[in-house]
Symmetry: C2
Subunit: 218 residues, 2 copies
């Protein structure tokens, strides 16, 4: 697969089939992940695959509690605004994202594979998130959908306990990614265009070009 197809179409795929992810595909996902850079090339990361239904069954209620907090606390204002005026494009997108996220929570135990990433001594996340994003891109190349969620961070202790993470050694939860073969189609997600979120040489100075439509599409 061309790198641009992966970069443009790796969007959250939360509706997936329960079919297992073959071990050869898991190897490709993790071997791509560890090629990413890390600060000082320290590689102080751990990748924990979860496919045991008993473990997912214990994590599920924890996740649903965390996601509830995400939408009441973290996105509380945006949800309230969307519900108050549900027909604007922003509100439609917000409520669609919320439904999709809740689908993930409700079906947590049905995902065939999850990847939990952990880092040691990485205060900015810059030494762990590139590797996890590489895992998602490699999965895309293999036809496997992914959905990245940080929601466990809202109450991470129970998840760390279930997974046996040695917090006392300094290991910190970075992200959880669900994997699965999607039921829907791949596509390019709409985004605020480059020139509205980019500057040149100083904050607020136009970047100097406009990109009104995606530079890659099917």
């Amino acid at each position: 697969m061309d790198v641009y197809e992966a970069l443009y179409t790796t969007r959250a795929m939360r509706r997936v089939r329960p079919d297992p992810i073959p071990e050869a595909v898991q190897q490709k996902i993790l071997d791509a992940a560890i090629r990413a850079p890390s600060g000082g090339n320290s590689q102080t990361w751990r990748f924990l695959l979860v496919d045991d239904k008993e473990v997912l069954g214990r994590l599920g209620p924890v996740y649903r509690d965390c996601l509830g907090q995400v939408f009441t606390v973290f996105y509380g204002d945006r949800v309230a605004a969307a519900l108050a005026d549900p027909d604007t494009p922003e509100s439609v997108a917000m409520l669609s994202m919320k439904r999709s996220a809740e689908h993930l929570a409700e079906h947590f135990e049905e995902y065939p594979l999850m990847l939990f990433s952990f880092a040691l001594g990485d205060p900015t996340g810059g030494s762990i998130h590139p590797s996890t994003w590489s895992a998602c891109l490699a999965a895309r190349a293999e036809g496997v959908g992914s959905a990245w969620t940080s929601a466990f961070a809202l109450n991470v202790a129970p998840a760390l306990e279930i997974l046996g993470v040695p917090e006392a050694e300094g290991w910190r939860f970075a992200s959880c990614v669900t994997f699965g073969y999607p039921t829907g189609r791949w596509g390019v997600a709409p985004r605020v265009p480059v020139h509205e979120v980019s500057y040149r040489n100083h904050w607020g100075t136009p970047v100097g070009f406009e990109v009104p439509a995606p530079l890659w599409s099917y």
Copy 2:
């Protein structure tokens, strides 16, 4: 370019030519970046390209001061250990990385383009670093080398002042990436293999397979 070639060969490229990065390539880099996911699809990010030598000239001394702190404070123990026993593979790698990082600092003003990424309300970095990593992968596809550095975080205030970042609005520095056409060759960086950094279902439980050599190579 195949997605795996990008994932396996996008390693820190700090030795680059001063030739400018064409605007069409800059557009590809940023348009790929904004396709990445962000929490709740909030896209609360800003991308600041810097190619003005006057701005780079003001940032350079700040960066060199920060990098000095990285190697005395953050990696002080590793540097001391490497200097004490410089012939082990770990020491050779550490000292090589240090020389390469110092090359970047010494030649800071000579890079033709830099990308500063900023995020709003993203405590884990999970909503900004995937976009920046996508920028690096797109650059790789265009033959442009990148080097990701977080060193400004050691003393970020002067850099934010120079770039005019409205900290009071909540915008936070996430990363700085240098770009340039490399003087050296692309290659697959050596890494600790997957089975040494991965587990399955519980911390410490073997992942169940070994990947002794990179699954992609030239």
